[in-house]
């Protein structure tokens, strides 16, 4: 699945919900309102990273700002955060 495949369209659009994604420094913020809640968090993270033009050579994860935990990559995002939640798009990489 590519990042662009995750956009809700047609009958699935009513399943979309809104959330706010920020980068880890809190400098850039993206409002997302067109992704299906049934999409796995990993696909949503890739889409958010793509829309924020973040580098594609590192894996990305979403961190729920209210619980401080990473969303489970394989679980639908709608099962892990509530509408209007704030998440941080976080690189899963390390200093070396």
């Amino acid at each position: 699945m590519t990042a662009l495949d995750t956009t809700a369209a047609g009958p699935g659009a009513q399943d979309a919900f809104r959330f706010i994604a920020t980068d880890v420094t809190g400098t850039n913020e993206l409002e997302v309102g067109d992704l299906q809640s049934s999409l796995p968090a990993s696909a949503v993270a890739r889409t958010v990273a793509d829309r924020m033009s973040l580098p594609d050579n590192v894996p990305w994860a979403l961190r729920d700002e209210s619980t401080s935990v990473y969303l489970d990559d394989d679980v639908a995002i709608g099962d892990q955060i509530v509408p209007d939640a704030r998440v941080a798009i976080t690189p899963r990489t390390h200093l070396g």
Partner: protein, 374 residues
């Protein structure tokens, strides 16, 4: 110019093709073309950010956002063929003249590594293969005149810059310079308070006390400033937030969810107060707490050398990838490495964005800094 490289550790997806520039990979300098990787707008964000810093922010124009800078990309041709020695980014200067900044092929190493990863995935390159890369331009796309380059993100809201208005010259007069002599042209000004520099070194070297040693570090927190007299732009690092609850090994430091959560909580608390509202994360520091060259003894002529140049102070590929990911579109980004040389002496170096990559640079140390009174 052809540059050697080796395969990095990670893969990457293909980006939308740019009709103007590509990176060409070869297994030998004069060998056949192994891969041709398009250079897309996203690949040039670090270079465009640097252009914004150097030509807008450092000339007193802190009101123009990165997205608002009109940029043209123009190849620097090596001759009559497709090969390029680099490229120029151009934008209108404050006085109406076009300003330009040159970038070398090294600024596109990440594109070459992406192509190499793809070739490795297809079995056309092995892990220890050395490859060579150079820039090629597409003549049919009007390479001579260049073309507009758009890296704007209309959907993304960016925190306003709001730099502090602080005169630079008085700070320089009372500051102590550290690091390499000033390059030409000089990089944007970076100051540390003495307390912040000590804190950076302390948390970076904390991992050296572990058995075996591990990497430790934190984020650099400071103010962005604009001089009302000269118009120049600079940063003052006043605090270091240690990366707590991080995953540490001898050669890596990974921030966990708890690490980031604490950092964000502290930053939000700082930004709620008027005096510290302008604070932001401007870089990272960490320790390379290992002896270089796998602990090999110093060179045979070590005793005759004044300075040991074999050091663990360098920006690793992981460090660069981390900074690119965390400080996207933030050209003031810093990377401070504290390490050791082959004589087991302490060494350190600050790295900042130049030529679209992190290169060592100098900085200044202030005994104190009051953002309201200086």
């Amino acid at each position: 110019m052809t540059q050697p490289g080796t395969i990095g550790a990670r893969g990457g997806a293909e980006r939308a093709a740019s009709p103007l520039l590509a990176i060409v990979l070869r297994l030998a300098q004069d060998g056949p073309e192994l891969a041709r990787e398009p250079v897309g707008p996203s690949d040039l964000v670090d270079a465009v950010s640097e252009l914004w810093l150097e030509e807008s922010l450092r000339n007193g124009d802190t009101g123009t956002a990165l997205d608002e800078v009109p940029v043209r990309l123009r190849p620097e041709r090596a001759g009559s063929g497709q090969a390029c020695t680099g490229y120029f980014l151009e934008s209108p200067g404050a006085d109406g003249r076009t300003v330009q900044r040159r970038f070398s092929v090294f600024s596109l190493e990440h594109v070459a590594r992406r192509a190499a990863e793809r070739m490795a995935g297809e079995g056309k390159l092995q892990a220890r293969d050395v490859f060579y890369y150079h820039i090629a331009c597409d003549e049919a796309a009007g390479a001579g005149a260049g073309r507009p380059l758009d890296v704007s993100l209309p959907e993304v809201q960016t925190r306003p810059l709001e730099p502090l208005a602080i005169e630079l010259a008085p700070l320089l007069r009372r500051a102590r310079p550290v690091g390499p002599a000033a390059a030409t042209p000089s990089p944007y000004g970076v100051f540390y308070t003495a307390a912040a520099l000590a804190a950076a070194e302390r948390c970076a070297r904390r991992g050296a006390e572990h058995h075996p040693p591990v990497e430790t570090g934190g984020v650099l927190v400071g103010f962005l400033c604009s001089c009302p007299v000269s118009g120049d732009f600079f940063a003052v690092v006043v605090e270091v937030l240690e990366a707590q609850d991080a995953d540490q090994t001898a050669y890596s430091l990974a921030f966990s969810a708890r690490t980031w959560t604490r950092i964000r909580a502290v930053m939000e608390a700082r930004q709620r107060h008027a005096a510290t509202r302008g604070l932001r994360i401007v870089g990272q520091c960490h320790g390379h707490n290992f002896i270089p060259a796998d602990g090999a003894p110093p060179c045979p002529d070590c005793a005759r050398r004044t300075v040991c140049t074999r050091s663990s102070v360098f920006v690793s590929l992981d460090d660069w990838n981390w900074n690119r990911a965390v400080f996207r579109r933030q050209p003031w980004q810093l990377c401070h490495i504290f390490g050791l040389n082959a004589r087991h002496e302490r060494d350190q170096g600050l790295f900042g964005l130049r030529d679209g990559r992190l290169l060592e640079r100098g900085y200044h140390v202030l005994e104190d800094f009051d953002p309201e009174g200086c």
